[in-house]
Amino acid sequence: MGSAETKPSANGVGVADIAEQPPGVAGIAGPRHPGGPSYAVVAFCGRHWVAILVHVAFVALWWEASRYVPRFILPSPAETIATLWVPRYNWPRHVVATAIEVFGGFSLAVLVGVALAVVFNWWPAVNRATMPLLVTLNMIPKVAMAPLFIVWLSYGVGPNIVIGFAICFFPMVINTSRGLAEVEPDLIDLVRVIRASRWQIFAKIALPSALPFIFSGMRVAAVLAVAGAIVGEFIGSDQGLGYLMMSLQATLDTPGMFMALALVTLIGVALYGIVILTERAIVPADARVS
């Protein structure tokens, strides 16, 4: 079906087809995928073949290296993946617990961080009063606070969400604040001329222009959220992939630890991917902050 669309029509004279389009429009349209999903996969591989090749090479190298090293030091990829079929690991339970902590801490930090930055932007006095304290608090290594959180909140999924939140919160506030502060003054003048209300300026100009900064904060937070959840599980938890790793360490079950590590990474990649895809959907290409 895809080929029918791309094939030139039987009587198609190229020049005539081009002439019918409005001038300039043809050249500026974004890349189109003329075929179905299979074409998209091929196009993806075509664009990212180096990245794909490097990953394949990495796994191959690991596999080869594992032949010369004891299993409890470096299990092979096959041995690692084989653990997925062993019921005693109880993978689903641990994956779900960690995923809830990662996504929970991240979402909470995004909501509270953006909200607080908006408050700062709206009331500069609050900003002046609070920001110095936030900067100081940000210097505390958040993972070092994990034992305290466990004293305060007992252990489990809840406290681990709080640890993830504590780590992700600062990049969210700081990035969003910067985005809201760096709105081009002329853009605001543009609507001040017609007496736009403060709310209109915020909703139509400031917040949309801060979105690239918010997403850049979310990209940082997505990576940190995983670290937060795992540290929480290391210190005090009875479930989750971090907890599992600690208990597998006691029996030198390296394949199981490798698998847990891989699954933690996958959760992080999933979160990061969601952030990137959402950003692509709502922030125009030329406005993104890299």
């Binding site: 429009v25 002329d186 001329v193 017609i194 139509k204 100009i205 222009s209 125009p284």
Partner: protein, 258 residues
């Protein structure tokens, strides 16, 4: 130089504005007074950084003057400061996340004008500025000149009585700029709006204006107000006419550049 016979639509009376503290304050505008009749196109010309933009911002209500008075509106044309000013800046200032037509519609949204009618009007304005077919494009897909045309359409969307333009073609290349001059002249004639146009190009000021107000450098002080008597329909060829040369020569002299 005859005084305008009509009641002025914009009246600036001994405007004065300085920036900074008491110690090292910078006098930006000093004693500027002139009238703009309804439907006139007044060019404000002067060297860079002479306070022309400050003057325009005072008229727009973005800055407040220290002394003097701005009065806009006359018996036939009452003036609502929220609705009756359209502004074009040196940069197009299009919102990157909006399509061209949604950018044009921004003032209409802020003023709460009926959506369907505004959209129809935006389409017509985009046609008027030569951007028909680009309604759904994103700003980055347009050239600098096209972006500035969109910005001009946006300034007209809410049908303001007064349009303020602050060096709108300053960032364009020379040829695009000349083409835009011709088009702006045509748009102004079709719309019948009062336009206040800041520029540092003397030929641009004379080509576009029914009047040219000449300002000297820092502080902006009025050197002269010159009425331009040239054919109403102007093409670029008019710049080679003798009368045109007389006007530009006179302005160069006033600015001490000859």
């Amino acid at each position: 130089m005859s005084a305008p016979t009509l009641e002025p639509f914009v009246k600036l009376d001994r405007l004065r504005k300085s920036y900074g503290g008491r110690q090292n304050s910078l006098l930006a505008v000093s004693d500027v007074s002139f009238d703009v009749g309804p439907g006139e196109f007044v060019s404000l010309v002067g060297p860079s950084g002479c306070g022309k933009s400050t003057l325009l911002k005072i008229v727009a209500g973005l800055n407040r003057q220290d002394e003097g008075e701005v009065r806009i509106g006359c018996a036939g044309q009452p003036f609502d400061p929220a609705r009756d000013i359209g502004m074009v800046f040196q940069q197009p200032l299009l919102l990157k996340w909006r399509s061209v037509i949604d950018n044009v519609l921004l003032p209409a949204e802020i003023l709460g004008l009926p959506a369907a009618e505004s959209r129809e009007r935006a389409r017509e304005l985009l046609k008027l500025v030569g951007l028909a077919g680009f309604e759904a494009s994103r700003p980055y897909e347009l050239s600098g000149g096209m972006q500035q045309r969109a910005a001009i359409a946006r300034a007209f969307i809410h049908d303001p009585k007064l349009v303020l333009m602050d060096e709108p073609f300053g960032a364009l290349d020379a040829l695009t700029r000349e083409r835009m001059n011709v088009e702006l002249r045509r748009i102004w004639q079709q719309s019948g709006k009062t336009i206040l146009f800041v520029t540092h190009s003397i030929t641009e000021a004379v080509f576009l204006g029914t009047q040219v107000v000449v300002l000297t450098a820092r502080p902006a002080r009025m050197a002269a107000r010159i009425e331009i008597v040239l054919p109403a329909v102007r093409d670029l060829g008019i710049k080679t006419h003798e009368a045109f040369g007389t006007y530009t020569r006179r302005i160069y002299e006033l600015l001490g550049m000859t």
